[in-house]
């Protein structure tokens, strides 16, 4: 058993040992080992050239990684908190996602941008924001979100080995709050394949990241109290999206709830709902429900009310079954 923080760290050690082109760069990731200690110990083993403490400079961290990749490195930049990725947004939506396209395949961009995201860890705004949908809207980026320690290792290895740019979103609450068995040795999880986190026949909850844990708890509780069978589908990767797994889940249960931490309007959950009505409309027994954050900036206080919890999910499950 290890925490997600430990499994991400393990994946970084293993990928850097496997391929000497792999390097990490970012703020406080070297000597300090990262503000969450994810990169702890890397500088001792791999030295300051491959574990580089950058200036506070998100645009240059991302842009620099694009150039490093063109030169033949495999950079794994860290943005300290997803909220600060806004300061590199133009480099992510611009050169990072377009270098391959604009050069007609002449230059690859095998860059994996790691960034922690999500609330309910007593951190202030912009240290706890989720911007999943900002990045899934940009063609040319893969967006990957682990929900278990095992997946964090397998998906991070797959992302680093992928020849395309990947945004690897690490649920902040999962660093210590998610713990499970992690396979030893070379372990790679294919990008674009969802995972049935919990089988169920009456309702399906579709979600990703830390919300998989919250949704699973809600499913367990409602099953115990109401005797209904609630499944949880963990998307793992928002782009590419496993539409087949979504269709299968909808056909199995006919009732669906999509859970996401970010604000309601324009959320990736909306994309899932649209996908479901396009491909599985006639399998639906009830309107698809969304449980998300609210249309306000991430608040500094009361995040426990903003971030979907078991209570809100259970309410949605019951309403969906009544519909």
């Amino acid at each position: 058993m290890m925490t997600m923080r430990e499994s991400i760290s393990l994946a970084l050690f293993e990928e850097m040992r496997r391929d000497e082109r792999v390097m990490v760069l970012g703020q406080d990731i070297g000597t300090n080992g990262g503000v969450f200690r994810v990169t702890d110990g890397l500088i001792e083993e791999f030295g300051p050239d491959r574990v580089y403490d950058t200036p506070i400079s998100e645009a240059a961290i991302i842009g620099g990684s694009v150039g490093l990749a063109v030169a033949g490195m495999v950079p794994v930049p860290e943005i300290q908190f997803m909220g600060f990725s806004l300061q590199a947004f133009h480099q992510i939506a611009g050169p990072l996602s377009r270098m391959r396209y604009r050069s007609r395949g002449r230059f690859e961009c095998p860059v994996t941008v790691r960034m922690p995201f999500g609330g309910n860890v007593n951190s202030p705004e912009l240290h706890s924001d989720s911007f999943d949908a900002l990045y899934t809207h940009i063609p040319g980026l893969k967006v990957v979100v682990p929900s278990t320690a095992a997946d964090a290792k397998g998906l991070l290895a797959a992302s680093i080995r992928d020849p395309n740019p990947v945004l690897f979103l690490e649920p902040l609450r999962g660093y210590r709050g998610i713990r499970d068995d992690v396979p030893e040795g070379d372990y790679v999880t294919l990008l674009g394949k969802a995972r049935v986190a919990r089988p169920g026949t009456d309702v399906t909850i579709i979600t990703w990241g830390y919300m998989v844990k919250t949704a699973t708890r809600a499913a367990e509780q409602v099953e115990l109290e109401d005797g209904v069978s609630v499944g949880v589908l963990d998307l793992r990767s928002l782009c590419p999206l496993d539409e087949e797994a979504i269709a299968q889940a909808v056909e199995r249960t006919g009732r669906v709830i999509v859970v996401e931490e970010a604000a309601f309007t324009g959320s990736f959950a909306a994309e899932i709902v649209a996908t479901i009505q396009e491909q599985s409309f006639y399998s639906l027994e009830a309107p698809v429900r969304r449980v998300t954050g609210y249309d306000i900036p991430m608040p500094n206080a009361y995040q426990e009310h903003y971030v979907p919890d078991e209570k809100r999910i259970i309410k949605a499950i019951r309403e969906t079954l009544d519909a």
Partner: protein
């Protein structure tokens, strides 16, 4: 800031005491240190400058006829661009903006990045590229182009700062052409000039007469040598003038005077270099005709090359299509095929 054009003229006038120069204003005399270029290299400098201007002119004509899209020329900036390109070694890389397009048509594509459209976004990846070449122990430096207007972007400062810290083997080449679409240098910065911005990055900045190909070659070669020796980046400010509009979509008569343009054309980089070659007995009266023919043929070949099939717009987003993208590509293709059948 005054919009009075007379004020603008004075603010743009090269300060003779602070610009590196080799050629006299007319080009017939050497007033600085002559760079070690043989006769063939000197003639080639002229040929490339002349060719770039011809291609630009031809593209503007074609744009006016509706045969090509919006295009940008580099008239007035040939010495800055061609002179700096000529200073590169075989292993060096170019990170362009859009202005250099007609000068890099024969640069090896495997060391030429796509031209940047969003201003200054090329500078952070130019730094990463130079840094990566050093980490990979590859030979080669990076020459990154941008306009003086781009120096107001945050990316310029982030890139310059990081380049200084990692000692990136590169040259920041600022083409100060006087105007950022309609905004003059005087409204772009309150600093005395653009080269001094390197002070904040901890590396040298140098101002050069950007209409003097020999001076540009010299300062660029020196900056590249410095980078090759591991001493880090240099910022070069090449002072020149944008003769045309920003692009064919721009009308410069709305914001600047004919008089100002003509004052700069007096030191035209091509005429000046022709005078230099003539004074050295290197002038070949048939050269221009030869280049014009070749340039026109190049443009003709470019615009008559059949366009790739529409479906290729889906290529190279990723190394392979996602299932969604594949479906969209098929959908688009079916519509196209259906229209063809009708």
């Amino acid at each position: 800031m005054s919009n009075d054009s007379d004020t603008n003229v004075s603010s743009l006038k090269p300060k003779d005491d602070s610009l590196v120069r080799v050629l006299s204003a007319d080009g017939d005399k050497i007033i600085g240190d002559m760079p070690p270029l043989d006769d063939a290299a000197l003639v080639s400098l002229y040929a490339e400058m002349f060719r770039s201007r011809r291609i630009g002119e031809r593209m503007v004509n074609l744009q006016r006829q509706g045969r090509v899209h919006t295009t940008a020329t580099m008239a007035g900036e040939e010495a800055a661009i061609v002179g700096s390109l000529a200073a590169l070694n075989i292993s060096d890389w170019v990170v362009p903006s859009y202005r250099e397009r007609w000068a890099v048509t024969r640069f090896p594509p495997e060391r030429l990045l796509p031209d940047a459209v969003s201003l200054a976004t090329q500078l952070p990846y130019a730094v990463g590229l130079a840094w990566g070449l050093r980490l990979k122990k590859k030979e080669g430096c990076v020459l990154a182009y941008f306009g003086e207007g781009s120096s107001s972007e945050g990316d310029f400062y982030e890139a310059g700062n990081l380049a200084g810290v990692v000692k990136a083997p590169m040259v920041f080449f600022c083409r100060n052409n006087g105007w950022a679409i309609s905004v003059p240098v005087s409204a772009q910065t309150a600093a005395d000039n653009f080269a001094i911005k390197a002070n904040a990055f901890g590396f040298p900045g140098v101002r050069v007469d950007g209409m003097d190909a020999l001076a540009v070659w010299s300062v660029t070669r020196e900056a590249l040598d410095r980078a090759r020796r591991g001493l880090g980046p240099t910022l070069i400010e090449a002072v020149a003038y944008r003769y045309g509009g920003h692009t064919t979509a721009d009308d410069p008569q709305r914001y600047r005077s004919q008089e100002e343009l003509e004052s700069w054309q007096k030191r035209d980089p091509i005429t000046r270099f022709k005078n230099f070659l003539t004074a050295r007995n290197l002038w070949d009266p048939l050269l221009e005709e030869k280049i014009t023919e070749e340039a026109n043929a190049w443009v003709e070949a470019r615009i008559t090359t059949p366009a790739p099939a529409p479906g290729t717009i889906f290529d190279h987003v990723f190394d392979e299509l996602t299932p969604r993208m594949r479906r969209q590509q098929i959908e688009m293709q079916e519509l196209i095929d259906g229209e063809k059948r009708q």
